[in-house]
């Protein structure tokens, strides 16, 4: 083997490596100008807390990947909120710009994104991502740099386990979603309560806590557990757990679902097996408006119960205003507005109220203000944080499909509630 040939074999790798390494790392590390993102920020990174330029608020959302459907809805919510604020004179007199980076539902990407937003783009404020799995690592990054972290989609215990003082979840803790339902069962005379209950749960932090809690509360009321299992969420094949539930002939089914396909699959199987539970409540799915009814058929939807912190027809005046403005801006039907939009909007509202009250963008002040026990208002209802950052003033409602309409039924006496249909009508053949 000749000398120079061996040389090439060794020289090329090293030199090219050095060159590439230097170029790549310099390219992404040294840049201080914001690039890309989903808003045009025209020039300087004027997200600083002082000055007259626009206020840049940064967030990372799952625009691709596992959580992409919700991530996109959150994007709509945040951007809509910003446009509303700007239409009403802006925040502290300045225009609001939302800068969104995509995290592809990945925890390591979400960390990189918030690092970028905070240390390269120098955003004034940060808003939370979607899902507890991403909120936990992201909140830690924000905490390190003293940023308040208001979010609406991270309520699992892991988010609060680190006891970070900058985390504020505006949405109702997942575990309490079905409380009005259990209260209603309690209100029934013993003879009318369902004798048996089935509790199938998708393996997801948004589907297990509330169903488990309900099971625990219903047991002493005389509702025997006929079935209680966790099924994996990955595969869209829910035939087997659905068959097992049908086989159990439980009178009440409390399904821990996170999306329409899960509920639709269970309903399908129940229909095929000619199994008619007296109560069928799902954690999520029936609250998706037309996405739900077109998937299962309007006739089948009747009688289905679902918890919802918000729905387009909500009587809350802030919500009505938002729905009107949303439809005016984007067109379409109020009933098509995704609940995630309201969640994201609420996050913005809380930030808005804090900043306006303090007349300052100081994150430290915002954090102590939000921990001061003050009650703020949002389209999802009142917001008041405990020391962990959970919103215990959040309200829970139960809705039901009746005659093709999505109506509020529980709490029974609350404003806007109609009579609950019980037992659930049998499947139309």
């Amino acid at each position: 083997m000749s000398v120079s040939r061996t040389l090439h074999q060794h020289r090329v790798p090293f030199l090219s490596m050095i060159a590439v390494a230097a170029a790549v790392l310099a390219g992404c590390g040294g840049s201080s100008a914001p690039s890309g993102g989903s808003t045009a920020s025209g020039g300087s990174t004027a997200g600083s807390s002082s000055g007259k330029g626009p206020i840049v608020i940064g967030t990372s959302l799952s625009l691709t990947g596992d959580f992409s459907a919700d991530g996109q809805a959150f994007k709509n919510g945040y951007e809509f909120w910003a446009s509303q604020v700007n239409a009403h004179g802006g925040l502290l007199g300045r225009q609001v710009q939302i800068k969104i980076l995509n995290d592809n539902s990945s925890p390591s990407q979400v960390v990189t994104n918030y690092q970028t937003l905070i240390n390269t783009d120098h955003v004034a404020l940060t808003l939370g991502p979607f899902s507890s799995l991403l909120t936990a690592p992201a909140a830690a990054v924000a905490h390190r740099y003293g940023y308040a972290f208001v979010e609406g989609a991270g309520g699992a215990p892991v988010v609060f386990a680190q006891k970070l003082n900058n985390v504020f979840d505006v949405s109702l803790p997942v575990a309490n979603e079905l409380d009005p339902f259990t209260a209603w069962v309690q209100s029934l005379p013993a003879g009318q309560r369902p004798a048996t209950g089935a509790y199938p749960k998708a393996d997801d932090p948004f589907a297990i806590p509330q169903v488990q809690r309900t099971q625990r509360l219903l047991q002493p009321m005389g509702v025997q557990t006929a079935y209680s299992k966790v099924f994996p969420e990955e595969v869209a094949d829910y035939q087997a757990p659905a068959d097992s539930v049908a086989h159990s002939q439980a009178q009440a089914v409390v399904l821990g679902s996170t999306d329409v396909p899960t509920v639709s699959a269970f309903m399908s199987t129940f229909e095929q097996q000619h199994y008619n539970p007296k109560i069928f409540i799902a954690a999520a799915g029936p609250d998706q408006g037309s996405a739900f009814t077109s998937a299962v058929g309007m006739k089948n939807a009747n009688g289905m119960l679902v918890p919802d912190a918000w729905y387009p027809g909500s009587a809350n005046p802030l919500s009505k205003e938002m729905v009107q403005a949303y439809v005016a801006k984007y067109g379409g039907n109020p009933s098509d507005i995704n609940a995630d939009v309201a969640e994201a909007y609420s996050v913005g509202e809380v930030v808005d109220q804090a900043v306006t009250h303090l007349n300052s963008l100081s994150n430290a002040k915002i954090i102590s203000y939000l921990h001061s026990g003050v009650t703020l208002q949002s389209v999802q209802g009142p917001v008041k944080f405990n020391e962990l950052g959970e919103n215990l003033a959040a309200t829970a409602f139960i809705f039901q499909w009746q005659n093709g309409k999505f109506v509020q039924v529980l709490p029974a006496g609350a404003a806007g509630s109609v009579k609950i249909e019980y037992p659930k009508p049998v499947w139309p053949s």
């Binding site: 060794h10 090329v12 596992d66 990945s106 990189t112 936990a136 690592p137 740099y145 892991v158």
Partner: protein, 357 residues
């Protein structure tokens, strides 16, 4: 051409290609290579000084983790020819080893770093039973069995109670200042990456590496020649697993959260394969180049590509292009091209003289 030149050329043409070039054989100019290595190491050490922004060190950390993991993957799969698509098993096990350890033994602060050797031990330890089962089958089957292991482990992470199930676990908070928080992690990753490349190089030079390459080229013949194939493969598998486990543990503490989908991520394995392939499968520097180029690019693009899964399509196309047009990877192909170009240039400069590439 003189007769001796003809003979030399014929001899060169007849010599069979023995696989991609690497840092194999005795370097003719050790000084140049040493200088090159030193330059790269110096660049790595000085990088956080030159670019102090935490964003740069975040990219740096993530990239170095992949340098280590891709090199570790390559020193098993690249050298032996057994493509493993289940290395995420080691990574995830390292993640959970540190996560569960920190939680159960109530460790905080720098104490958690003490769990890193445990992560390596878990990674390497798991490789033994897995290897004993998987390394007895043909290469095609081996790939599938590694995929099966991957799914089994991911499922265990979902279902077993001590892993925190689908919500996962979070790490104790490190109260370091934000401006320099990343630096210790970065240097730890740099150390790991450097050590891995060194190990990879040493293996390649040693008889161990020769055994592995013999297995890759023709396992039956290697066995016939007395290579203890199973033991050799298993040893490489264990080393690879231990390094990957350590990387996982370190990564966990940096990110601060562990969940089944992120600790056991199918795209992790594909990324390792792509990086090693891109740079040059079976070479020492190949996976390093692959990681240095692909990881920052992937992160940067993901943050800004927000729709239509364009990034996924581009990734696949890049993969295909690399495989079809540069099947041996960037480095060996570039090396070859350069060598051929130099030969042509020299031929033009000295017509009639002996052709030497």
């Amino acid at each position: 051409m003189t007769p001796s030149a003809v003979r030399q050329a014929a001899a060169r043409a007849a010599r069979p290609r023995r696989g991609p070039p690497g840092f194999s054989g005795l370097p003719a100019r050790p000084l140049l290579i040493a200088a090159g290595v030193l330059a790269v190491v110096a660049a790595g050490v000085l990088f956080p000084v030159a670019f102090p922004s935490p964003v740069a060190t975040t990219y740096g950390f993530d990239t170095l983790i992949f340098v280590a993991c891709a090199s570790a993957w390559n020193l098993f799969s690249g050298y032996s020819g057994y493509l493993s698509l289940g290395h995420a098993v080691f990574f995830g096990s390292g993640v959970y080893a540190v996560a569960v350890g920190a939680q159960d033994w109530h460790l905080t602060g720098t104490g958690v770093f003490g769990l890193l050797p445990l992560a390596a031990a878990v990674g390497g330890g798991i490789a033994i039973p897995l290897g004993l089962v998987a390394l007895r089958v043909r290469r095609h089957t081996f790939v599938v069995i590694t995929i099966a292991f991957f799914f089994i482990f991911q499922l265990m992470a979902f279902n077993l109670a001590f892993t925190g199930g689908t919500s996962g676990l979070v790490a104790p908070i490190l109260n370091w200042s934000g401006a320099t928080y990343n630096n210790p992690f970065y240097y730890a990753a740099l150390l790991l990456a450097g050590a891995t490349v060194a190990v990879s190089w040493l293996i390649r030079r040693a008889r161990f590496g020769l055994h592995l390459r013999a297995i890759r080229d023709d396992e039956d013949r290697a066995r016939g020649l007395g290579v203890p194939a199973l033991r050799v493969k298993l040893a490489a598998f264990v080393v690879s697993g231990a390094i990957t486990g350590l990387a996982g543990g370190l990564w966990y503490y940096f990110i601060g959260a562990a969940a089944p989908q992120s600790a056991f991520d199918p795209l992790f394995d594909l990324s390792l394969a792509l990086m090693a392939f891109f740079g040059g499968l079976g070479t020492v520097a190949g996976p390093v180049l692959g990681a240095l180029v692909l990881e920052p690019a992937q992160q940067w693009l993901t943050a800004r590509f927000t729709s239509n899964y364009l990034s996924e399509i581009l990734l696949g196309v890049l993969f295909l292009v690399v495989i079809i047009f540069m099947p041996r990877g960037v480095l060996p192909t570039a090396s070859e091209r350069l060598a051929r170009w130099r030969a042509a240039w020299r031929r033009r400069r000295e017509p009639g003289a002996e052709t030497r590439p």
